[in-house]
Amino acid sequence: MARRQGRGFATIEYPTGMNQNGDPSQAWIKLKPDGRVDVFAGTVDIGQGSKTVHTQIVADAIGVPYDWVTMDNSNTDSSAVCTGTFASRGTFIGGNAVRYAAEKAKERILEIASKELEISADDLEVVDGEVLAKGAPDRKISIPDVAGAATYVYGELITGNGTALKPLAELNDDDGSVTAEPHSAISYAACVIDVEVDDETGEVTVLKMTQVYDVGRAINPTLVEGQIEGGAMMGLGLGLLEDAYPRYPSVEHRGEQFGAYLAPSLCDMPEIDNVIIENPSVDGPFGAKAIGEMANNAQPPAIAAAIHDAVGVWVTEMPATPERVLRALQASAEPRLDGKRVIFDEEISVAAVSADGGEGFWGVDA
């Protein structure tokens, strides 16, 4: 009886946006008379920091300091449509909506500046809150002066709006083929988990997680790390602890309080090593891809692989509780061989559990 260490790997991918698309996000922007920027969008910040990320995108898309930008996502009267904060779509699709709106507002800024400077808008650029003549930066006007002139001289409101929408991808129900890409950029991640398994109690302890995420472009690396580490803990819960029906197949005795439902807590948190890779997407804001949802997907299989590396058994029903690990150790079942077939997990298959050998599910082509 001993504590045995093991290491497991997993590599995963995850799409951005609703599957098959058709999920718009819209935003609009107005400038105050002193050049400060108001952004209105319906994208809910669920704690991941999308409002901060969107503000960063707008600041750079126009070319003004970050603290000039205020974002209001508080209600459906002042904001336009956002399908919602799910499907890992906040930074990419919501972010594109505010980016497009900012680019439109910037065009209006350049038009007004062009009148004030008497220089073609094509020959102007925006740098740090000022509109400069390209190649002659001493000829310039500040964005506060542009906004003031728009309001009080030209009688105009500088605005911009944008919609990010990829049209619905049609799906062939017979073979699953699609006529257009059914999602936006795909993100990738790899995860290495080191565990210690007590082969007497079946208890598994995660010692370290090393995780690599390709997020295209980290708009805010601190918030990316927040997603990686928060997701890592959710993945640890999936791999080792949580079960809404812990006595399944009985559905009784469910945890109804935090004290009875085993969600991971800080004392379960291992050392976490984060690596961010930036392989830019072709059409995300500043090359960004998604990070949100995928962050809890790689840990359960990496944990299963690490348990196998440590004690030589596969746990394929999650979570890998001490009971499941011990049962696997006691059974120490080798896969069944049948000709060139190598058959794992036969006892939990549809064929074994259903009354008709799984024919109803496996036989749809018959």
Binding site: G176, V212, F286
Partner: protein, 467 residues
């Protein structure tokens, strides 16, 4: 200074950690009533009798609603995407899971509301229940819905399917066939903030809905559909959520509160207790995934057959969407030229399952990654080299004929190996994601590759508007 790429602090971080953020339950409106719901005590039962009059007669009770009060009671979250509705807002004659809401009360206090629930006269006739979806198609299995045990609307099929390449030939040609079964479980979303909303009937006839939804416009659509009201009569106020993780895509309390606010003409608030959040609100779906891989002794995955069962719980909700997404990604980060996938959304008498972080794909990651490790074990190959060999490359196509244009399977796998000092063979260490050529383009992978120059799909994200 460039803002993009900067480690700027979260705009709401200080407010959160100093307790100054205003969540929905912090909003106080004078004269507000409290809501409680009568929930099914049975997993599956007919409602043979219900009389709410004794509850309505209690002092301090201002309104009681049942399915008879809902203008459009059965509304599907995904009707716009062609997923027909099957879930009543309030149960109508039958309950299909323990905790299903049947009636709701608005009263001066939560205690009075609870007493009113006790006063409702209701009788049930229990029915047999299904909890193991593997037995969902068994002859004589209890009937949950009259149309059958599985969601039937994947075009002409009762299952989502993917077919690509010659799977029979791949299995005939295989040196080894590796078969495994993977069962990720149901889990709770566990938000610190339970489901909550406050609905204020305004003097001008509008409703203001303070909501913890993750998707204000989505929930606005759900409430307006149930009420059969135009969008401009309802204002959602939100944008600050005390934890969502997918569970707050369900519009759990807003519509019932709206009905009670309209009926009582008073502001009403419904906040789930922690027990309701754990026991009656939705969970992540449990899945059942069976994979059979046809592999060569060199470590090529020639073909794959997959059977996936998705436990939908008592109603379809988002499950058909989640299963379709699962189907689109069922080969993981790898290229397999011949696939046959069948996936079923199977009903059970568990609480309805819903969206949760990684929806549809968390199950793929567990199944595919564990299965690949087993393939490596069976063949006696290095598990990372197996991944790198079969990795998505530029120009590869998925089972759904999606062409890869910026895959990073190779990049992230190599970076992880380097970070932990894992030794790889020479031919793997310098691998890139460039188009397959030479030894990385064996005969079985040649046909799946998109023609040169067509690997970049121009994304069609559109902009509109101007000033």
């Amino acid at each position: 200074m460039k803002a993009v790429g900067a480690r700027l602090p979260r705009y709401d971080g200080i407010a959160h950690v100093t307790g100054r953020t205003q969540y929905v339950d912090d909003v106080r409106v004078p004269g507000q009533l409290w809501v409680k719901a009568l929930r099914s005590p049975h997993h599956h039962a007919a409602i043979t009798h219900i009389d709410t009059a004794p509850a309505e007669a209690l002092p301090g009770v201002h309104a009681v609603v049942t399915c008879a009060d809902v203008p459009h009671n059965v509304y599907g979250h995904l009707e716009a995407l062609g997923v027909p509705a099957d879930e009543p807002l309030l149960a109508d004659g039958q309950v299909r899971y323990k905790g299903q809401p049947i009636a709701a009360v608005a009263a001066d206090s939560e205690a009075i509301a609870l007493a009113a629930l006790e006063a409702i006269d209701i009788r049930y006739e229990e029915r047999p229940a299904v909890f193991d979806i593997r037995q969902g198609l068994d002859p004589g299995a209890p009937e949950i819905h009259h149309w059958g045990p599985v969601y039937p609307h994947f075009g002409p099929h009762n299952h989502r399917r993917v077919r690509k390449g010659d799977v029979e030939a791949a299995f005939d040609a295989a040196d080894t066939i590796v078969e495994g079964v993977y069962r990720p479980q149901a889990i709770e979303h566990c938000p610190l903030e339970t489901q909550v909303s406050l609905v204020v009937p305004e003097a001008n006839g509008r409703l203001t809905i303070y909501s913890c939804t993750q998707a204000m416009y989505f929930s606005l659509g759900v409430v307006s559909a149930h009420l059969e009201w135009p969008l401009n009569k309802i204002k959602f106020v939100g944008g600050t959520v005390g934890g969502g993780f997918g569970g707050k895509v369900d519009t759990a309390t807003e519509t019932v509160c709206a009905l009670l606010a309209i009926k009582s003409q008073k502001p009403v608030k419904w906040r789930f207790t922690r027990e309701e959040e754990f026991l009656a609100s939705s969970t992540r779906a449990p899945w059942h995934v069976e994979i059979k891989d046809a592999v060569s002794k060199e470590g090529w995955i020639l073909g794959r057959r997959t059977l996936t069962l998705h436990d939908s719980g008592a109603y379809s909700r988002f499950s058909p969407y989640g299963l379709t997404k699962h189907a689109f990604h069922h080969t993981g980060a790898y290229t397999i030229p011949a696939v046959s996938f069948d996936g079923f959304v199977v009903y059970s008498n568990r609480v309805p399952t819903t969206a949760m972080r990684g929806f549809g794909v968390t199950s793929v990651s567990l199944a595919v990654e564990t299965h690949l490790n087993r393939v490596a074990q069976v063949l006696g190959l290095d598990p990372l080299e197996l991944r790198l060999k079969n990795a998505n490359r530029i120009g590869d196509t998925t089972g759904n004929r999606v062409v890869m244009h910026d895959p990073s399977t190779v990049a992230v796998t190599l970076a992880a190996a380097e970070r932990v000092g894992y030794e790889l063979g020479d031919e793997y260490r310098d691998m890139t994601s460039e188009r397959r050529t030479g030894e990385l383009l064996p005969e079985h992978l040649a046909g799946q590759q998109a023609p040169e120059g067509e690997h970049l799909i121009v994304h069609s994200a559109t902009t509109n508007g101007g000033h």
